[in-house]
Amino acid sequence: MRLRFTPVMAVLGFLFLYGPIASLVIYSFNESKLVTVWGGWSLKWYGELFANQQIMDAAWLSLRIAAISASVAVVLGTMMAMVLVRFRRVRGKSLMTGMVTAPLVMPDVIIGLSLLLLFVAMQGLIGWPGGRGFSTILIAHITFGMAFVAVVVQSRLSDMDDAVEEAALDLGASPARVFFDITLPMITPALIAGWLLAFTLSLDDLVIASFVSGPGASTLPMVIFSKVRLGVSPDINALASLIVLVVSIGIITAALLMRKKP
């Protein structure tokens, strides 16, 4: 059989994408701490992971921040998308588009530094925020989360036939009623996708959180980073494997659910 270029490249590409993940999962079950030595199958590192109070605290903090920031981001991002796609006669739309797409490509170090400097300046001027930690990380994550949500919802709204909303308006529904009766149910998949995106990005953010966080508030990525900077640490392998497991189950379930629907 003649080997064709693109399928071969595709196979190699997917190996490249999944090899490291597979190695993380495999080594999370390695009894030995050394990567080169296979000490036999073991769940030891999972035990250590759950016994590590620092990681558990950080994970709980990160999950709370991610859930709250994603939820607020969905509300704000959806409002922004509605303004950009559905509202007519709004001045400054191109400026708004710029504001909402810039966080998508802006390097984390810049967002982190600029928000931190803002918080410091605000504290000097109005005494708020009193300290840095949970609330400042939350604000930072809401800000970039809403940008991602806005983009996802915006593309869904533009694909949607706006005559459907006009039809409801025509049948006597008020604009607010149209939004809740028609628009919202139709963009629900985009809202879920946007929420998951904002949640994941929040859970994953190291750089911005490092800038805007204060003493005592360490998110999961911050703890992971300080640990892995010193080298491989097998309980982090165990954590990574758990994340891969959760994500895979989630994505596959979502894919199966989507397929069932016509």
Binding site: A167, L169, L171, A173, R177, D181
Partner: protein
């Protein structure tokens, strides 16, 4: 309620004393510098089935959307049933609209789609459901109440959209290309269905369409639009037989146009000189000698024969092309000057030796078959 008098029979537009139901006065819509609708005034009467006919981008849909309240006019006024519409939002207008894409709510059943308008009006649920059931039977969809729109065929979806737009018994129903998404055969059947429903309910319909045959079949009157303006309003027969302009003559049906200038006019006859020769036409008052005019002749008004024809206007030529259409044949006849004319002739049963390619033929038409157009 009194007895419904059909507008199609009463023809209220012929009497100056009749009060129009919809008055459109000097309405314009600008998108940037472009006038999508340009100073349109129109009166539409109770019970009419009025068609706005024109090509794409002629402004007909924009005009309809201004009636529905989705677009705000840049200039002018709309009055519906004596009520000024300026400043009234779409959800508060006494109109309903049937959308070209149907715009059915994909996440609601057929029943809920149709009942939506009633429920928004505050009609109690049991009554709303009963009226929905009646409406579904009117459009012959009794068994489909619980289905989702996506599970229906195009024709069924079209009827759901119609039922939904009629359920609130609007004073005025606006239909944007209501049959546009159906295939030809279904479209023809549905045309008559639409007329039946319109006559049953006595609702005034304004239909936007680009299909001139559809407009002819459906309407009490047609408003032909071109580049944002209404170029002619009239009954279908009037539009076809007596077009006001070259554009209308050309847009409605097929036509041969001769450009020429007025030569001499007698009380009962007028002569127009064209590159193809002089054409005799019925006289048109107010024309001066040497004025540039067009003469329009419909292909089916032209006789075609191998031998000479006795008619006011006769020409000779050679058959360039024949298209057999079943009930009739369309001939392209090349005149001596090189110009081609379209001529249609009905096909008889088992016609022996029909006229065919490259035959020398005579053509002719009466003076009454020529229409003189100044624009």
């Amino acid at each position: 309620m009194g007895e419904t008098i059909l507008a199609a029979e009463a023809r209220p537009w012929r009497e100056a004393t009749q009060k129009p139901f919809v008055r459109i006065r000097g309405i314009s819509k600008l998108f940037g510098d472009l006038a999508a609708v340009d100073d349109v005034s129109l009166d539409i009467y109770q019970g009419e089935l009025f068609c706005l006919l024109g090509g794409s981008g002629c402004g007909k849909s924009t005009l309809l959307r201004m009636l529905a309240g989705f677009e705000t006019p840049s200039k002018g006024h709309i009055e519906i049933d004596g009520q000024e519409m300026t400043g009234i939002a779409a959800n508060l207008r006494p109109t309903n609209m049937m959308f070209q894409s149907y715009a059915l709510f994909p996440h609601m059943s057929v029943e809920k789609n149709v009942a939506y308008g009633l429920l928004r009006e505050g009609v109690p649920k049991t009554e709303a459901m009963a009226r929905t059931a009646d409406m579904l039977s009117l459009v012959k969809l009794e068994g489909f109440a619980r289905r989702r729109p996506q599970q229906l065929s195009g024709g069924q979806q079209q009827r759901v959209a119609l039922a939904r737009s009629l359920i609130k018994q609007p004073k005025l129903l606006l239909l944007d290309e209501p049959l546009g998404a159906l295939d030809k055969k279904l479209r023809e059947e549905t045309q008559f269905e639409l007329i039946r429903i319109q006559e049953d309910l006595g609702v005034t319909f304004i239909v936007v369409t680009h299909d001139q045959e559809e407009a002819m079949t459906l309407s009490t009157r047609i408003g032909v639009m071109d580049r944002g303006r209404i170029v002619q309003v009239g009954e279908p027969r009037q539009i076809y037989e007596a077009p006001d302009t070259k554009f209308v003559a050309d847009f409605i049906g097929s036509v041969n146009i001769f450009d020429g200038e007025v030569d001499a006019a007698a009380p009962d006859m007028m002569r127009v000189n064209t590159p193809e020769g002089a054409i005799l036409c019925p006289p048109l008052p107010g024309l001066k000698a040497h004025q540039k005019v067009h003469v329009a002749v419909r292909p089916e008004r032209i006789q075609l024969s191998r031998g000479p024809i006795k008619a006011a206007n006769t020409l000779q030529g050679i058959v360039d092309e024949v298209a057999y259409m079943g009930n009739l044949s369309v001939y392209r006849v090349r005149l001596e000057g090189g110009r081609c004319l379209k001529v249609t002739a009905a096909n008889g049963l088992h016609e022996e030796n029909p006229i065919t390619w490259d035959e020398a033929v005579h053509i002719g038409w009466s003076a009454a078959a020529s229409t003189v157009l100044t624009k």
